[in-house]
């Protein structure tokens, strides 16, 4: 409805109200991030005395960042987190999309049951199986490897991915897929070249939904890969949080640095949410 949009845009009161609401929402959403960022650059005393004040000449300090870089291998932790998150997302999207395509496209015996079985995982938290998973990882010698985490997160993300993607794939025009078949394309080409680009917005949604919980997870890194060389960022930051003393400078600095990579990933995925290539395909 471009007509309505432009009419709304022309009315200055509506425009102001709309922008006002959006700006307030943005401020509320960004406030905690802002507080973390400014406090990560302050001395410990200043953090507690005036948490909302900006760092000035007197209170400015990079002690938190120094601690983070001295204790433990921050860069390695960051790298581990990135590898685990990106690899898990890749496998979730690849296998999720393939399973979704099979469920949406092919009529076979047990299609419905298979779909239900795959969706069941949405309702059952994977942590219930932690003990069994740990036993399995021990048996396969995967404990203290990044593969252990990648496999678990892939399993954890697949149910929702299959559920969302199969819904979207059902909406991809049958005519388009059939045109590909008549022109002699293989089912793989139809899947990768015709269908996947059309469900890109859904893929981006699935990626964003899965990314944050994986990045922030403490549970599985602690149980499956607590070794120094496989520590993730979240796990690595825990050394600064003690039962009695917490090094707030270090915690805030580590958090500030942990936000950045997720933001970059988020921007990449949200770009994909913008349709464009799809228009004009059919009709």
């Amino acid at each position: 409805m471009p007509g309505q949009m432009s009419r709304a845009r022309r009315n200055p009161v509506t425009v102001a109200a709309m922008h006002g609401a959006l700006i307030i929402y943005t401020l509320i959403a960004l406030f905690p991030v802002f507080v973390i960022l400014i406090n990560s650059f302050k001395t410990r005393k200043a953090i507690f005395r005036e948490p909302l004040a900006l760092p000035n000449a007197e209170t400015f300090s990079t002690i938190g960042y120094q601690t983070v870089f001295q204790q433990g291998d921050f860069i390695l932790y960051l790298q581990n987190s990135l590898i685990v998150t990106v690899a898990s997302l890749f496998f979730i999207l690849l296998f999720g999309a393939m399973a979704a395509f099979a469920l949406a496209e092919y009529r076979f015996r047990g299609n419905m049951l298979m779909g239900l079985y795959l969706a069941l995982g949405i309702m059952i938290p994977i942590r219930i199986g932690t003990v069994a998973i740990l036993e399995m990882m021990v048996a396969t010698g995967l404990v203290n490897t990044l593969w252990a985490l990648i496999l678990v997160y892939t399993a954890q993300g697949l149910p929702l991915a299959v559920f969302i993607l199969s819904e979207f794939m059902r909406q991809v025009s049958d005519d388009l897929k059939n045109a590909g078949r008549v022109d002699g394309l293989s089912e793989y080409t139809i899947f990768f070249r015709l269908v996947l680009p059309l469900v890109r917005p859904a893929m981006a949604t699935v990626a964003v939904f899965n990314m944050i919980p994986i990045w922030n997870d403490l549970w599985f890194p602690l149980i499956l890969a607590p070794a120094e060389e496989t520590k993730t960022l979240t796990l690595g930051s825990q050394v600064f949080i003690g039962q009695f003393v917490t090094d707030w400078n270090a915690v805030l600095s580590a958090l500030s640095m942990a936000i950045l990579p997720v933001m970059v990933l988020y921007v990449i995925f949200s770009r994909q949410l913008i349709r464009g290539l799809t228009s004009g395909a059919v009709k």
Binding site: S173, D175, L176, N178, A179, G180, R181, V182, D183, G184, L185, R193, L194, P197, L198, L277, T278, S279, G280, A281, V282, K283
Partner: protein
């Protein structure tokens, strides 16, 4: 040689029978139109012919060969889909050339065939564009071009005009007719629009509920429909059906009279009041209330000043009417000339 032969073809989706025992042939070079109301199984039949669905029983022969186990790309067919179904990531040229590339044709041959098809469809200047940058009519022509370059034994069209506006529909209809003349190819064309069927077809196959109702040339079907469904489906405005007892016949029969065969008269077997007048310029349609649920349509040539609520009498030639039994089957004893 026959281009297409269907023998005892049936198709069910689970419990629902969509196609029932279909037998028909398409001769080489023939333009055959499958026509029927929406949901009667025309697209399903086309997909079975193309190999995109398996038949539940029966055989499909294309150019003399049974193709039950042959994949769509190797059946010697090309299909134009209702929704165009162009590849969004490819240019017009890429869309038209993809099937040839898949077949492994040499580059020179591919560009020669694309150039020929593009010239035929006046798409020369759009070859580098993507589907998103084309109008609806142009997209439809690209879809047709994609079929032409394959030089198939059999063209399959699935309601290719249904997404176009009225003016464009007429132009494209004529273009498709020209295409058939110049390519001399065998074509199967699916539509729910009786005008398209009448104007394009060498042979019409009328479908209802997945069954063939009648097969014949447009004029054969118009002049001698086998039953009430075919009689009512072909011809616009559609045929009037009057209980025979209103015309002195037996109660169980129905008389079918086309609107153009009715005329106003001083006296006549039918009488009623004019309820609505449609003035089309060339024709005038009167809708007359004759005391039964359906209004009687009378089509008069030229322009007529007729007021609503006028009492009129309507007459017709018995030889131009059809006698149908209670089930709607045509009774043979009234051969209209």
């Amino acid at each position: 040689m026959t281009a297409l032969k269907l023998t005892n073809l049936s198709k069910s989706f689970g419990q629902t029978e969509v196609l029932r025992d279909i037998n028909l042939t398409v001769e080489e070079g023939e333009f055959v139109v499958f026509v029927g109301p929406s949901g009667c199984g025309k697209s399903t039949l086309l997909r079975v012919i193309a190999g995109l669905e398996d038949a539940t029983s029966g055989t499909v022969e294309i150019a003399g060969k049974v193709v039950t186990r042959v994949p769509p790309a190797k059946r010697g067919i090309a299909m134009v889909f209702q929704s165009y179904a162009l590849y969004p990531h490819l240019t017009v040229e890429g869309n038209m050339g993809l099937s040839l590339k898949q077949e492994g044709q040499p580059k020179a041959e591919i560009s020669a065939r694309i150039a020929k098809a593009a010239a035929m469809l006046s798409l020369d200047t759009y070859l580098a564009r993507r589907p998103a940058e084309l109008s609806g009519g142009q997209r439809q022509r690209v879809a047709i071009g994609r079929a032409i370059v394959r030089e198939p034994d059999l063209f399959l069209f699935d309601e290719p005009l249904s997404n176009l506006d009225a003016a464009l529909r007429m132009n494209t209809r004529i273009e498709i007719a020209n295409l058939h003349r110049s390519l001399k190819a065998s074509m199967v064309y699916v539509t729910h629009d009786q005008t398209e069927a009448m104007t394009l077809a060498d042979k019409i196959v009328v479908f209802r509920d997945g069954r063939v109702e009648q097969i014949g040339s447009p004029m054969e079907l118009y002049n001698s429909p086998a039953n009430q469904f075919v009689a009512g489906f072909l011809g616009a405005p559609s045929m009037n059906f009057v209980p025979a007892n209103m015309l002195g016949g037996p109660k169980s029969q129905i008389i079918g009279i086309r609107p153009e065969h009715l005329r106003l008269a001083e006296t006549g077997p039918l009488s009623g009041t004019v309820q609505h007048v449609e003035r089309l310029g060339g024709d005038t349609n009167l809708l007359i209330q004759i005391g039964q649920p359906d209004l009687l349509t009378v089509r008069l040539f030229g322009q007529h000043d007729m007021a609503v609520d006028t009492a009129v009498h309507v007459d017709f030639d018995k030889s131009e009417s059809f006698v149908l039994d209670a089930e709607g089957q045509r009774l043979e004893n009234t051969p209209p000339e």
